[in-house]
């Protein structure tokens, strides 16, 4: 046994709910095998043992929201061979990017009695706005099987097999009846990247965009369909402005309905 030769994995957290890194601990059937294949060198949520970098793979969860974090991400990049962002916060700024559309000082005074104790940036931004990112894994939360696939790919020197087509493709494969056509429920599926397994339509509700925009999404055409469903401009704005609000195609579409 030579633990030195195992690739070193680190998990880093920025502004987030912890759900995406929890996905790693939620790999109940795979966790011990993963721990055999890689050296979990820095994963504070799971262990108090910390091994110094550099790391072969860094998984980064969360968005950049404080001056301190904007510095910290550069240190992490310097000590990582591959840097992979996990989840909507790290790839698009997350739900906390809703502040980007407002004045953050108003937000601080709503939540905190003494705003002077709070240090925060005006915007919540994705990791790729600050450093080079090797791979972005989408989802709010990520799909744990996609995470295992990405880890496998990087450990074996191949490209991850993560499709960029829309949720519609997953619905068709599952044989779901289209919720928008059949029930008139607004659905972001046509413009949202696959990955969740089309859970919402399977449970008879419209997709609400956890995995962010698919490649080349036609958001304005979908917004027109929403108008046919009698959604108000405000409703349409809110629909595009949620967990991936600051991803460009969704941001632009929501701003068109302000």
């Amino acid at each position: 046994m030579s633990p030195i030769k195992k690739p070193k994995l680190a998990v880093w957290k920025f502004a987030s709910c912890d759900g995406c890194q929890l996905s790693l601990l939620d790999c109940e059937d795979e966790l011990l095998a993963i721990a055999d294949a890689v050296h979990i060198a820095n994963f504070p949520e799971a262990s108090r043992a910390v091994v110094k970098g550099p790391y072969d793979i860094s998984l980064v969860e969360g968005s950049i929201t404080t001056p301190h974090d904007a510095e910290r991400i550069h240190k992490i990049r310097r000590s990582s061979k591959f840097l992979i962002t996990i989840g909507a916060c790290a790839t698009s700024g997350g739900i906390q990017a809703l502040r980007n559309f407002k004045d953050v000082n108003d937000f601080i005074s709503i939540v905190y009695a003494n705003p002077e104790y709070i240090e925060t940036l005006n915007k919540s931004t994705p990791i790729a706005d600050h450093v080079f990112v090797d791979f972005e894994l989408r989802g709010c939360p990520i799909n744990k099987y996609q995470l295992v696939e990405v880890l496998n790919a990087y450990l074996n020197g191949r490209k991850p097999n993560i499709p960029q087509y829309s949720v519609c493709v997953e619905c068709k494969r599952k044989g779901n009846v289209c919720v928008m056509v059949a029930t008139g429920a607004p659905c972001l599926g046509p413009v949202t990247q696959a990955g969740c397994g089309a859970i919402c339509p399977t449970y008879q509700r419209g997709c609400f965009g956890c995995f962010g925009p698919k490649e080349t999404p036609n958001t304005s055409s979908l917004a027109d369909w929403y108008k046919n469903l009698k959604l108000s401009e405000d409703d349409i704005m809110r629909y595009f402005r949620s967990f991936n609000a600051f991803a460009e195609p969704f941001r632009k579409e929501s701003e068109a309905h302000e």
Binding site: G19, L22, A46, S47, R48, Y117, C140, R205
Partner: protein, 442 residues
């Protein structure tokens, strides 16, 4: 190399040190600990939450009331159901809707799933390694492979309930204001019976295992705050009680409790007005609701010699195990009695007003207050996460623990201080609107 005895005596006589942990491990989120000791007296204890603020209460303003369960779930990846249930109940109370019968039972079942998953994660993967002297559960798995494998199996069963009822284990998509988007068939639920029977047996065994651990000494006269319900061990709803006389409807919450904003934390500290800190979570629920435990949970506690009120916070690990027994037993009951309802939800029409929701997250009460307008738009939101409520109790535990154990080596003291924080299963991501350990000995 041991220090010369003269040196050792001197060090003991003038106990001046700083215990510092910059990034507390095996908790959900980012926290720090700082303890300063001067002349054998603890001069400062700070349990700081350095999690960046995310401003949920601010950006909930202007959203539609039906979005609250999906948005507030994102406060916490570990206990999203707590946020979903509290917000759903608050919205339903504003709109004058009561969700009952099979739909209410399914909500309880979903919550049992979250309790099993979250308690199994904390008891075995995050907390047990402290007692057995491992840095993490993966190291622990080398010496105790069956324990860790069974723990993962138990956790998975909790998650299976979440997947079936919620659509997925993290941020479930199926719960909504008024009920669910889609309800399972009886046959689908019956698939849970065999796994849950195994889970119940293993949970009972876990109570024995946890009761056999060695516990550091610490007891405090806590004010235990939890929900209480006339018919059941509380999960989704109830009124708020404490062992020191609080017995109130949710709407009176802010008459009795207040939040304080302190410089060293991005999470607000909650206290009982004109009194002090309080404790919420498994120890409080258990003390206030012992009579409502299910038969096997009660028997498991009795067999393990656990008193009806537990005052040593390190023993919270046993109480959590007892609650796992409860959650498995309760889940089996719901599955057994389930009759599929005709409709997956009750229609909810928006109505202007103010409403409250409170549910028992695995780590304590999760309190929500909302104000919405005629059109169903949220005008104001206030959310109290369990960990922010426990912050002050954690600091007091630490102070007393350090004062009573000044003879411990720096390394052991630091570790046991971390352990004292992990007693609370703190969920720091939640509490921020919320952790990092430093012990300074000057």
């Amino acid at each position: 190399m041991p220090l010369p005895s003269r040196f050792g005596r001197r060090a003991r006589r003038m106990n001046n040190r700083v215990i510092k942990v910059d990034y507390l491990a095996r908790v959900e989120g980012e926290g720090q600990l700082l303890v300063k000791i001067k002349n054998d007296a603890v001069t400062d204890v700070k349990f700081s939450i350095i999690e960046p603020p995310r401003f949920f209460e601010a950006f909930l303003r202007g959203r539609h009331f039906t979005e609250a369960p999906d948005i507030t779930a994102r406060i916490c990846g570990i206990c999203p159901v707590a946020y979903q249930m509290s917000s759903c109940h608050a919205m339903e109370s504003i709109c004058g809707v009561k969700v009952d019968g099979a739909l209410r039972e399914l909500r309880r079942l979903l919550y049992c799933g979250e309790w099993i998953e979250s308690h199994a994660l904390h008891v075995f993967m995050l907390h047990a390694p402290d007692f057995l002297g491992y840095e993490d559960s993966i190291q622990m798995a080398k010496d105790h492979p069956d324990l860790v494998k069974n723990a993962l199996k138990l956790k998975k069963i909790g998650n299976e309930i979440m997947i079936l009822l919620g659509g997925r284990e993290i941020h479930p998509i199926n719960p909504k204001v008024g009920g669910f988007y889609k309800v399972p068939t009886k046959k689908q639920l019956q698939g849970l019976v065999e796994p849950l029977k195994w889970a119940l047996d293993f949970a009972i065994e876990s109570v024995k295992i946890m009761a056999g651990l060695e516990f550091p000494e610490l007891e405090r006269d806590y004010e235990f705050v939890s929900l209480r319900h006339p018919d059941e061990y509380p999960l989704c709803e109830g009124y708020i009680v404490s062992n020191k006389g609080i017995d109130i409807e949710l709407s009176k919450f802010f008459d009795y409790f207040e939040e304080q904003h302190v410089p060293h934390s991005t999470s607000l500290h909650a206290v009982v007005k004109d009194r002090d800190d309080y404790l919420t979570g498994p120890m409080a629920r258990y003390a206030n609701n012992y009579d409502k435990l299910t038969p096997k949970a009660k028997k498991a506690a009795e067999d393990a010699g656990l008193p009806k009120v537990v005052l040593n916070p390190f023993k919270s690990i046993i109480v959590r195990a007892v609650e796992m027994v409860f959650a498995c037993e309760e889940a089996l009951r719901v599955v057994d009695e389930y009759k599929m309802p005709d409709k997956a939800y009750v229609e909810v029409k928006s109505k202007a007003g103010v409403g409250f929701g409170c549910s028992e997250a695995p780590r304590g009460i999760c309190f929500h207050r909302y104000e919405i307008d005629d059109g169903g738009i949220i005008k104001d939101a206030r959310i109290l996460a369990p960990t922010s409520q426990n912050q002050k109790a954690i600091e007091k535990d630490l102070r007393q623990f350090v004062e009573n154990h000044l003879d411990l080596s720096h390394e052991k003291m630091t570790w046991q201080c971390e352990q004292a924080i992990r007693n609370y299963d703190p969920c720091i991501s939640c509490s921020c609107h919320f952790l990092n350990l430093q012990i300074e000995r000057e």
